[in-house]
């Protein structure tokens, strides 16, 4: 069984602050991490390795520093790592991102492709299903549990709003994983030592099977027209009052608004 896990290096968005003067994101000093859903995906793959002797490859598309994310995955125990990087990939929306990743996946053998459900920076949850479409394989999103019969069949629990679905499908397929489904293991000291000795394959446009017009800015039907920090709504009234006055103010305001 061959598994490929797609991971994205993301800024830890819980650490992001907005510059109040310019309204832009302050990214300096914000740590880069493996996207949380993808980390759960790595854990799922490694459990399949433990249970079914799966061979696990990890792939990321990103700038040179994304190498760190791959090293971390290697230290957790994955077998191979591929780093997709090329100027031609830059400026990609989800469609172009998924084309690049699918182009690389065409070079690999896989029974199962694992992506996170959603990256915490772009927040779209679109790349996984789009990869599955380009590769013409089945997808199951919002995975919270996976069983494998050791032959070809996966039984999957898929989270939905008011419960879950149980679905069955055969390899090859793509699943998108929720971060709280699998608690990721820690890197081992031995793993960390070995991770830096291992080779990470670096692939660019020439190494993958994809049309150039499907990549990067050119291959992106969506464009960010503008970005802004959420507008602060006109400040309302703020009172520092003693309890009685506060209660009186609340009641009169609610009456004024016909709420009570």
């Amino acid at each position: 069984m061959n598994i490929v896990v797609c991971i994205k290096q993301v800024p830890d968005t819980t650490e992001i602050k907005i510059n109040p003067a310019t309204g832009t994101l302050i990214r300096d000093g914000v740590p880069s991490i493996i996207n949380p859903d993808d980390k759960a995906g790595l854990e799922l793959a490694l459990r399949m390795k433990d249970l079914h002797d799966a061979h696990v490859t990890v792939i990321t598309m990103g700038p040179p520093q994304a190498d760190n994310a791959l090293r971390e995955a290697l230290a957790m125990g994955v077998d191979d790592a591929i780093h997709l990087t090329d100027r031609k990939f830059a400026g990609a929306d989800t469609l172009a991102t998924s084309h690049a990743l699918a182009g690389a996946l065409r070079n690999l053998t896989f029974d199962l492709i694992i992506t996170g459900r959603q990256a915490i920076d772009g927040d779209t949850a679109q790349v996984g299903p789009q990869i599955a479409e380009h590769l013409d394989i089945a997808q199951v999103s919002y995975l919270r549990k996976l069983d494998y019969d050791g032959k070809r069949t996966f039984t999957i629990e898929r989270s939905i709003e008011d419960g879950y679905e149980i679905l069955e499908t055969e390899a090859p397929c793509l699943v998108t994983v929720l971060s709280d489904a699998f608690q990721a293991r820690y890197m081992t000291v031995k793993g960390i030592m070995e991770a830096y000795a291992k080779e990470v394959k670096v692939w660019g446009f020439n190494e993958i099977e994809v049309k150039e017009e499907d990549l990067g800015l050119k291959g992106s039907p969506t464009k960010v027209h503008k970005a802004f920090s959420r507008g602060v709504k006109a400040a309302g009234e703020l009172y520092e009052l003693d309890t009685d006055e506060a209660v009186g103010t609340i009641i009169s305001k609610l009456k004024e608004k016909f709420i009570i």
Partner: protein
């Protein structure tokens, strides 16, 4: 691509177990605004089995045309049959705009369809409007709610977007409203059906749906534990309101996850949102800042909740609510 052959504002009218979902009606409501700006029609796409009877409801809520595929293959949602049906309808009707609810169904279906028809998809939008050049401006939160981005898709059609449930407003049903219903036969390629639904399991959910509430009394960590929560419940009862909460309160197990407001909970827009002891983290604000009137009580006058509150009270929420309960009862 010749964009001018693409016309009309289309909505994927999600149904589950034969029931049209609320988000579908919200999108039809929004589609009416967009269609008015473009001088085009609103189309609802209804997929299911023995479902055609529901079409009239979509018309009553604002659809001009319902395009319905009624087939056993579409009984329950599965990615491939639904993608085939959507793509068939897109090929046939050439929508200018296609809106899909950002539910677990919509966010599974949307990207698959957009990749198959090779167009753009904007995720989880909270605002939609028509720009000066008649393109759709799709605004959405990213970076965990820290940033808003307006996305356009100028060269490809349809302009597709998934839209967050609870954000757009549905119209009152007009039982007199007339519309057209078009039935389509989808030529399914069944050899591509690879996933089987074994069963669908409901997990315990309370009957309360906070996204439907007119008044929400929302508790944060500042209300403290049980007794504080009881004060909130009491106030809710008096005002005929529902109780909701921040994640901090949900995490400590005092109220259910289905009552959580925010990015990883529900988006709400009640007439009154009463935030008691909630700091107003960005992930919380993302779920409630569209509320009609926001009252916040917090002992910290710099709490970010005050930036969105219409009425902010700096003080001890427990004492104030206790007294408020007494006063309202007399």
């Amino acid at each position: 691509m010749e964009n001018s052959t693409y016309k009309g504002v289309y909505v994927f009218a999600e149904q589950r177990n034969g029931e049209i979902q609320k988000v579908a009606l919200e999108l039809v409501g929004k589609a009416r605004d967009l269609a008015a700006d473009l001088k085009e029609k609103v189309y609802a796409i209804l997929l299911g089995h023995n479902i055609a009877g529901q079409a009239q409801m979509l018309i009553e809520h604002g659809a001009d045309v319902v395009i319905c595929a009624d087939a056993p293959e579409l009984e329950s949602y599965l990615t491939e049959p639904y993608t085939q049906a959507m793509c068939h309808i897109i090929d046939l009707h050439k929508p200018d705009i296609l809106l899909i609810g950002a539910t677990t169904t919509g966010r599974d279906l949307g990207p698959r369809v957009s990749a198959r028809v090779a167009t753009g998809l904007t995720a989880d939008c909270t605002k939609l409007e028509i720009g000066e050049d008649k393109h759709l401006l799709m605004t959405r939160p990213a970076f965990g709610g820290n940033l808003m981005a307006t996305i356009v898709c100028k060269e490809h059609r349809p302009q597709m977007s998934t839209v967050r449930p609870g954000v757009m407003q549905s119209l009152e049903a007009d039982t007199q409203r007339q519309g057209e219903i078009i039935m389509v036969d989808v030529p399914f390629a069944t050899q591509k059906f690879k996933v089987r639904l074994v069963k669908s399991v409901k997990e315990k959910t309370s009957k309360i749906d906070i996204s439907e509430a007119k008044i929400l009394i929302s508790a944060g960590r500042g209300m403290g534990c049980c007794d504080g929560l009881n004060l909130v419940k009491e106030l809710a009862e008096t005002l005929d309101a529902q109780v909701s909460a921040s994640r901090a309160v949900v995490d400590c197990g005092l109220v259910g996850h289905d009552q959580q407001v925010g990015q990883t909970g529900k988006t709400v827009r009640p007439d009154l949102y009463f935030a008691a002891g909630i700091s107003g983290a960005i992930q919380h604000l993302a779920g409630m800042e569209e509320s009609g009137y926001i009252v916040a009580i917090n002992k910290d006058k710099y709490a970010p909740i005050f930036q969105v509150a219409d009425l902010g009270i700096v003080g001890d929420a427990r004492q104030i609510i206790k007294k408020l309960n007494d006063r309202l009862k007399n």
